[in-house]
């Protein structure tokens, strides 16, 4: 196995997954000397009553919840974080719990920067100022689905993205009471994002063995559970495994360069307002077909993760790439009923493809050429094979 000449790897997360995990929140907070958290939650969670289970986890602890700010829906804006800051300060909170997915965690991270740095605005950090060391403890409770970047040091708010090691949540909690997804599209989308992130990280330049370890776990879980998890989002075992896969893929994503599919999907999502996961679903098969047509190899480590020990051992070396790509396509096919299959269904205007390709190429630091990106988009748009 190849070990790069130089690599860095960092994962700040503590992952806690399994039965009765929520009940550990108070003792986790206490280990940071924190006793009064402010909860940022998704409106849908308070409406569905799940939040009650969450509150009973604090029974007998003597801790008080500083409040549950549940105004977040599917857009993370700075005004939400500023409102939350008012509550945080008024109640004298000392820590943050994010209960939900994507936007909730982004608002929580933004709030954390605001209350820890006392800056009143995020502008300087968006422009590149480093974040100091001591952010408040932030616990992320996985609920329903994942947008792929919660369990990383990325913060995306008002369509701007920043990255810092200090933005990692301290703990991610995956509890079977909250992990099951609400509907097949939701579960499918978060699985596709995890799949894309894991594959993208594994196909990047010089992956390290540590990165491979996270990719391995993520892809194994996806390969074994995606079918069931998408079909029955409420299945506890499958949804727990997919939630774990999301967290591990996120860590892998954070430690590698973003792949082409991710970059293009994010750009298209920005243009159309549709979520990025849906674009990943459409673009990923074409990326696979492109690799096949260029005779690019899938690394053995990736195929091992997709196929498992037994299938890997019984596949001759020359077959591994083809079989690996088939395995990915099979996984994507499980989302057939849940997600749109073509670019047309996603309403992308043709003239925007070029803009998206150029923006994605620029975002990769010219690692992917604009021509390659555009070619992928055009193939996908026309639905033609490589």
């Amino acid at each position: 196995m190849h070990i790069p000449d130089y690599y860095e790897f960092f994962n700040h997360l503590k992952i806690m997954s399994g039965k009765r995990v929520l009940e550990s929140i108070p003792s986790e907070l206490a280990s940071y000397d924190a006793y009064k958290p402010l909860v940022i939650a998704d409106k849908s969670i308070t409406e569905s009553g799940l939040v009650k289970k969450f509150i009973t986890a604090f029974a007998d602890t003597g801790m008080t919840l500083g409040g549950i700010y549940d105004e977040v829906r599917d857009y993370a804006g700075i005004s939400l974080a500023l409102n939350a800051e008012v509550i945080f300060r008024e109640r004298g909170c000392d820590s943050i719990i994010a209960l939900g997915s994507g936007p909730v965690v982004d608002v929580a991270k933004a709030l954390n920067v605001l209350v820890s740095e006392n800056s009143g605005t995020l502008q300087p950090y968006m422009d590149g100022a480093p974040i100091g060391k001591h952010l408040k403890p932030l616990i992320y409770v996985y609920a329903c689905c994942s947008m792929g970047l919660e369990a990383t040091g990325y913060l995306s708010i008002d369509n701007r993205v920043m990255k810092s090691d200090f933005l990692f949540p301290d703990v991610i909690m995956i509890d079977p009471r909250l992990a099951p997804g609400c509907c097949p599209p939701c579960a499918a989308e978060s699985a596709v994002i995890a799949l894309d992130h894991a594959l993208g990280a594994g196909a990047g330049p010089e992956p390290s063995p540590m990165l491979d370890a996270y990719i391995h776990a993520a892809l194994r879980f996806l390969a074994e559970n995606m079918k069931k998890g998408v079909k029955k989002p409420g299945d506890k075992a499958a949804s727990m495994a997919l939630a774990n896969a999301s967290a591990m893929a996120a860590v892998a994503f954070y430690n590698s360069k973003p792949g082409m599919v991710h970059l293009l999907a994010v750009e298209l999502a920005r243009i159309t307002g549709t979520s990025a996961g849906r674009f990943m679903r459409v673009l990923l098969p074409y990326r696979m077909a492109y690799m096949l047509s260029k005779k690019m190899k899938i690394r053995d480590e990736l195929y091992l993760a997709l196929a498992g020990f037994d299938a890997y051992s019984s596949t001759p070396e020359g077959e591994r790439t083809r079989k690996g790509i088939e395995a990915v396509l099979d996984l994507l096919n499980t989302t057939k009923k849940a997600l749109p299959q073509t670019m047309k269904e996603l309403n992308v205007p043709r003239h925007q493809l070029k803009n998206a390709a150029e923006a994605a190429s620029a975002a990769s630091g010219k690692f992917f050429t604009a021509a390659d990106c555009l070619s992928l988009l055009e193939h996908a748009w026309e639905g033609k094979a490589y």
Binding site: D5, Y6, K14, K19, S31, P209, M210, F309, D310
Partner: protein, 421 residues
């Protein structure tokens, strides 16, 4: 991949690995707002000239505040207190720990004291006493085995009370683990084998013991693969920097795996033998490893069988029937010990009676086995082993390990069929 009914995993150490990793130290410290590090190490590291390698790599970009080379073999709280005094006198703001397990432990202890204040480490005894971010700490291992650059524990002895205090907190973790093959290049063959087998044991035990979890598992998987691919080569060609880097990576990953999923019988026996007979930890590990597998075989044969894949590669894995895989793993580990014995000219012991101390006498005489068995009952690793271990079980295993013969399976008391993870 198995998802246990509950698990937690955490390793907050930033890993920097590479052939030119040492050159990064000034930048890394600057990134943590530190300007004047203290080097904490032991006399052995200084003697083989590793400090000079580091000084050369750092160049003039960084001023070293102090070099403390007094880390003892069993880290001692008084040494920690003395070193903390030097740290403060010289106005240091960070620590670079260089060495094996004890140098790391000493450095972690110093860091607790200098960051939280006070001049006696004993004030911070007890779980949960460390609740704040400590000063920057960079750990540079010089043996590829202990994995202590990745663990959240500092074990520090109090010789007067004859206790080993453990300081456990995520804040005790080093900020950065720096793996550079130049730091392990000079490690003699016998130490290379024993430390690498120590890492191998971490990885394998983490894979089948009770706190097994998916993230640890995949770390174990790659660690086992890297060790079995590279160890024999490195013993034969000590200057093989690529192999050295692989072993350093394997050791770090095994450290991550076992500190998150704990260890069982092998460590239980190893700790106890080490404590009673003062035998190096790694040596015990390689001897007990096949017994740990045999003893637990009936509880988790399928899990142990999976280890065959990274250990022997896909061809052997495919050629071995599913029900024979676990036995094959045990066989290969025994063969590995034999190969290492041959490659080091007999300096890698295969059984307890082959361990010699400095005077060339047997370090573990047969008469002492009952005392070791008694000590195993007091070791925490007992709880994480899939099968129950009681005193007479330990003694039975010890007697076999003394002679180096495979375990008599009929003597194992079986408490159940499968272990619940």
């Amino acid at each position: 991949m198995l998802l246990p009914s509950f698990y937690d995993f955490c390793c907050r150490v930033k890993t920097i690995s590479g052939n030119k990793a040492l050159e990064k130290i000034p930048v890394l410290l600057a990134g943590m707002n530190a300007k004047k590090p203290m080097i904490v190490t032991d006399k052995g590291v200084v003697a083989v000239g590793l400090i000079d390698v580091i000084k050369k790599a750092i160049g003039t970009k960084l001023k070293i505040g102090a070099i403390f080379d007094g880390a003892p073999i069993d880290s001692d709280y008084k040494v920690v207190n003395a070193a903390a005094k030097i740290y403060r006198q010289k106005g240091c703001d960070s620590i670079i720990a260089i060495g094996g397990g004890s140098a790391m432990d000493t450095a972690k202890g110093i860091n607790i004291l200098v960051s939280l204040g006070g001049d006696n480490l004993l004030d911070y005894e007890g779980a949960g006493a460390v609740k704040k971010k400590l000063n920057p700490l960079i750990a540079i291992p010089t043996t590829s085995g202990t994995g202590s650059e990745m663990t959240l524990v500092a074990v520090i002895a109090d010789p007067e009370r004859k206790v080993k205090m453990t300081f456990v907190s995520y804040f005790v973790l080093p900020d950065i683990a720096l793996l550079d093959p130049r730091m392990t290049k000079t490690l003699p063959p016998a130490l290379t084998t024993s430390t690498a087998m120590d890492a191998m044991t971490h990885a394998i035990e983490a894979y089948f013991c009770k706190e097994k979890n998916p993230v640890s598992d995949s770390h174990s998987l790659y660690a086992i693969k890297m060790i079995s691919d590279n160890l024999l080569n490195v013993v034969k060609n000590p200057g093989d920097l690529k192999g050295r880097l692989a072993l350093a990576n394997a050791s770090a990953m095994a450290g991550i795996a076992f500190s998150n999923s704990m260890v069982g019988l092998v460590h239980n026996m190893g700790h106890s033998t080490g404590a009673v007979c003062h035998v190096p930890h790694g040596v015990c590990m390689s001897i007990f490893l096949p017994y740990g597998l045999e003893y637990n075989l009936h509880r988790c044969a399928d899990v142990i069988g999976e280890i065959l894949f990274p250990l022997a590669g896909p061809e052997v894995y495919a050629a071995t029937r599913k029900k024979d895989r676990a036995e094959k793993v045990i066989e290969l580990i025994r063969k590995m010990n034999q190969d290492l014995y041959d490659a080091t000219g007999g300096r890698h012991p295969r059984c307890l009676k082959e361990i010699m101390n400095r005077d060339g006498k047997q370090a573990v005489p047969q008469s002492i086995l009952p005392a070791i068995a008694k000590a195993t009952m007091m070791d925490g690793a007992r709880l994480y082993n899939p099968e129950e271990i009681l005193e007479y079980d330990s003694l039975m295993v010890l007697e076999h390990a003394y002679e180096g013969i495979p375990l008599d399976r009929s003597k194992i008391k079986k408490g159940g069929k499968k272990v619940a993870y």
